[in-house]
Amino acid sequence: MAMTLTEKILARASGRSHVDAGETVWVDVDILMTHDVCGPPTIGIFKREFGDDARVWDKNKVVIIPDHYIFTADKYANRNVDILRAFAAEQDLPHFYDVGGDRYKGVCHVAMPEEGFTRPGDVLFGTDSHTCTAGAFGQFATGIGNTDAGFILGTGKLWVKVPETMRFIFEGEIPPWIMAKDLILQIIGDIGVDGGTYRAMEFAGDGVMRMDMEGRMTLTNMVIEGGGKNGVVEPDEVTFDYVRKRTDYPFTPLYNDPDARYHSVRVYRSEELQPMVAKPHSPDNKATVQEVRNTRITRAYIGSCTGGKITDFEAAARIIKGHQVGVDTFVVPATTLVRDQLSTTFHDGKSLRQIFEDAGAHIGEASCAACLGGPSDTFGRLQGEEICISTTNRNFPGRMGSKKAQVYLASPYTVAASAITGKITDPREYLNIPTESQGVLS
């Protein structure tokens, strides 16, 4: 019987030759990831249920990446990192990326691929809803809560309901002013914030397969904003090349059967795509940039797991170079590697860091920073009635710190162009591409 990629991974992980969408199965977990917000309660549950002296099921399969509330004076937040530290020492965990040392990474969903934990065909659970990012590598990856994570710590197993798959196909070459963020904002706007609930969302077509891994990660990252359980892209040479450079660990890639059954298939023609935003206060509140152009903003933010990768900053720098930002602009590299790359990646002879500094942007430390608000001293946090345009993934009320603020989500191109003018701006204006030439603007 034909299966989708997601069904095949769950069949393999549950030791079966076949599973159907809708079945509940118990799977063996390849990797469990946790961070500073959900790690401490997960550890608490693990100890409560399995005893103070219990050992984790497999220390090589547990990855702990503090990233959320790092650079803060908040005593509770700092205590959380202490709890992780003590647990990693007690359990002798090899994959703990402590704060303050050389091993510190930053945002977990970008650090996971960097460290080789996102392997095709594997099953990854993480105590963070954007764990779905790793689906870009052809892995089954989804977010869970602390109780489930505590259960996995002790047993290495979890129940999961096999999801149906919604397929999103992008045909044809994607125009150079369009970024992966525009694709996923379009999709979420089309299906709504619960349009993918309980389902896998697969991205396919030559438009997607021509993307680098970082572009694909931007797509799968925001599957949860459509309510999806996991996002997935079939692995290919681009995937293998990325993964093999970072780990020797063996993996077995899996693919859709040709006659696999899908919940639905939506086909987009890439050439028709427009730069998109999600207006306040929901990721599905879509508009084209043209529809909201000239809307006044008071802040721009480039960062997070979906919009703080090196390719995101390369895109932003291409637009910002030679200009001054017209509003407070915050640049937050997702990881310490991305931070370093800001200094070693050049555009027209200038490092990205230099470009952002010359433009008057503020550059922060690698972490989640203001993507989820955080303690009041968090870098870039919204404190009042700001109108912010951001490369992050959520704009729910209060998400970036202030319930009175308004957040527009957009691609790094669009955020950079808007940062310069202080108004929502079509990136084509700064890429020397006439906005009228498209013929599809209404």
């Binding site: 309660p41 764990t131 809560g145 002790g154 619960d194 309510g227 959520r394 319930k403």
Partner: protein, 185 residues
């Protein structure tokens, strides 16, 4: 699992996300420490914008400013309740506040899983949107045998979906209890 849950209803709308259920800035409190964990009850649903907090009139806090528990026992919501982050603090906060069930027309899956596997609160699905037919403060009752929501204030009854696949875990009180009962631990 309680077969009957009875108490005052608190009504909110669609797409209530985890930041509205428990704002991210409050996630730093210990979930175990008896003094600290009470704050989850105080701040439960505090992120819901005031005009839509406690429908139809709004401007009703779920938990009073100086309180740690809520006078409301059953939360009535629209679609996609609990969307957003994977934080288990969300169903936990509702439980600490004293709520025992949510009745929503649909749920975001991580919240649903967390509510069930942690044994925090029972997530019932209503067949239709109840947010316009029930008012905050109405005396309501969930009959878990017949899968019915009874509004004693108006005398109306509404059908609920069966818990289905997760019933065994809800009855056991969570995934650990379920696994223990089934010889998995």
């Amino acid at each position: 699992m309680k077969k009957t849950i009875k108490g005052a209803a608190f009504v909110i709308g669609d797409d209530i996300d985890t930041d509205q259920i428990i704002p991210a800035e409050h996630l730093v409190y210990s979930l175990d420490d008896p003094e600290e964990r009470r704050f989850y009850g105080r701040y439960a649903l505090s992120g819901v914008p005031e005009p839509v907090s406690g429908l139809p009139r709004g401007h009703i806090p779920f938990t009073g400013e100086d309180d740690f528990t809520s006078p409301y026992k059953i939360i009535i919501a629209g679609k996609n309740f609990g969307c957003g982050s994977s934080r288990e603090h969300a169903p936990f906060a509702l439980q600490v506040a004293g709520a025992e069930a949510v009745v929503a027309s649909s749920y975001a899956r991580i919240f649903y899983r967390n509510a069930v596997d942690g044994g925090f609160i029972i997530p019932y699905e209503s067949r239709e949107d109840l947010t316009s037919v029930i008012s905050t403060g109405d005396e309501v009752e969930i009959d878990g045998e017949q899968n019915l929501l009874i509004n004693h204030t108006t005398g109306q009854n509404y059908p609920l979906n069966e818990l289905g696949d997760v019933l065994a875990i809800v009855e056991a009180g969570g995934i650990f209890q379920y696994a223990a009962r089934n010889g998995m631990l």
